[in-house]
Amino acid sequence: MRRAVAILATALAGTALAPAAAGAWTVEARWGGLGKAPGSFGSGVLGGGANRQYDSPGGVAVAPNGTVLVVDVSNNRVQRFTRDGRFLRSFGRRARDNGFRAIRLTGRFFQPEGIDVDSRGSVYVVDAGNDRVMRHRAGGAFQSRLGFHGSYPGQLVQPWDVAVGPREAYVIDQGNYQVDRFSRTGRYRGSFGRFGRGPGELVTPYGIALNPAGNVLYVTDHVKHEVMIFGTRGGLAATFGSPGVGPGQFLKPAGVAVGPDGTVFVADRCNRRVQRFTPDGRYLESIGRGALVTPTFVDVDASGDLFVADHHRVLRFGQGRGLAARGASHNGVDIQCRHVAELVLRGR
């Protein structure tokens, strides 16, 4: 109990800095498209139907130099852009292994998902299909590997997102229903969480983010429709969110990011919006309604601008003038949100 209070107090320390809901968030840049060409995302190589959900970009991360890294799940690569969306370079190609050979394959991914960048610019790519996290230099050269397939301590099954702090990297380990801690060079340090629907337990953990002080973790659960606030050793401080479409409610919360002022941005995938909260989980505002289709991962840069990985594209939201409005079209490809359609129909 005392630990939970301490974690929340640390999280709230940033609240004083958090500005009240300022001007409206508008789309300031958008880029991408469907295809294999540089700057595009997805290509349909995984087939139609349910797999088309993987055509959208995965994780998005802002590097210390202000460039934006975006995971291209279906094309098994990471692309780097300027903050206005100009393509710079990419790295990675496809390789899959469902034995133990993948340990030796570097510079290759299979359905990578999350991404984060540390203070030195090293890029951590979650290679979800090969059950590992790969650390690369800013230029794309392989540095080290965090974990490999298995359910023993330090091993991973379908890692999904990563948050890198000053000393440790925290990995969402979906298959083992836990969060694993590694040193930044890949040494296993411990884990927390277990399967279940009780407080602090995990069913489908999805996104993870660390606060600017590096001592509070925010973990979203896709199936429990909530965000959990943990200390870095796994002590549960609080949870927020419930299933629904109202303010502060979620339908499949996905990626999460913490702004420089400590406010928390959660991609509310099936409600097609991003919601912003105070560090202790009080609702502030909703962003991107009408502009987003399937927001998955989010990140915030040093100036407070929000980057959202959406349907075949990336959008940058800011509180400036913004681009001309463009309606978001949705062709019903996201099987994850099928039940939302049922819900809306019944609601009518």
């Binding site: 379908q158 629904g244 109202g246």
Partner: protein, 141 residues
């Protein structure tokens, strides 16, 4: 909380409760022959998870078969491993062989062992499957 959000919350709960729980058949070992690693430190069974293993009854909420495999020879446990495998997928797992049992799997021997896999899906439904396989050590004597 406004009326729409209350209605939505009620509908979500109703949908979750009304949908029938699908039967989970459990993970199992694929194949009848399993190889041993060098010095028989590990047995390498391929464990498969049945399709439509889910974390909720709703379509698209896929999950994992998570549990433990135990391998017995003449009633004694000789190896075990925790595992987690994606739905409709299979993966080779490393079952650690007990030190005293490694001689059973020396090159040239092909003992038949019994496996028991106890696993659960993302809805917390448990199932147990069992069967036998023959261990083959591909390394030279």
């Amino acid at each position: 909380m406004n009326r729409i959000s209350l209605l939505a919350a009620a509908l979500v709960s109703t949908l979750a409760l009304a949908a029938p729980a699908s039967g989970f058949s459990g993970a199992s070992v694929r194949g009848s022959t399993v190889s041993a690693s060098y010095a028989a430190k590990y047995l390498l069974p391929r464990i498969q998870c049945p399709p439509r293993t889910q974390s909720t009854p709703r379509a698209g909420d896929f999950s994992f078969c998570t549990g433990r495999i135990r391998i017995y020879f003449r009633g004694r446990e000789v190896a075990r491993a925790p595992f987690s495998v994606r739905t409709f997928d299979s993966h080779v797992e490393r079952a650690v062989v007990r030190r005293g049992a490694r001689r059973l799997f020396r090159p040239g021997r092909r003992p038949t062992v019994t496996w028991v896999v106890r696993s659960h899906d993302g809805q917390g439904q448990w199932a147990t499957r069992r069967g036998t396989f023959t261990v083959y050590n591909p390394f030279k004597r």
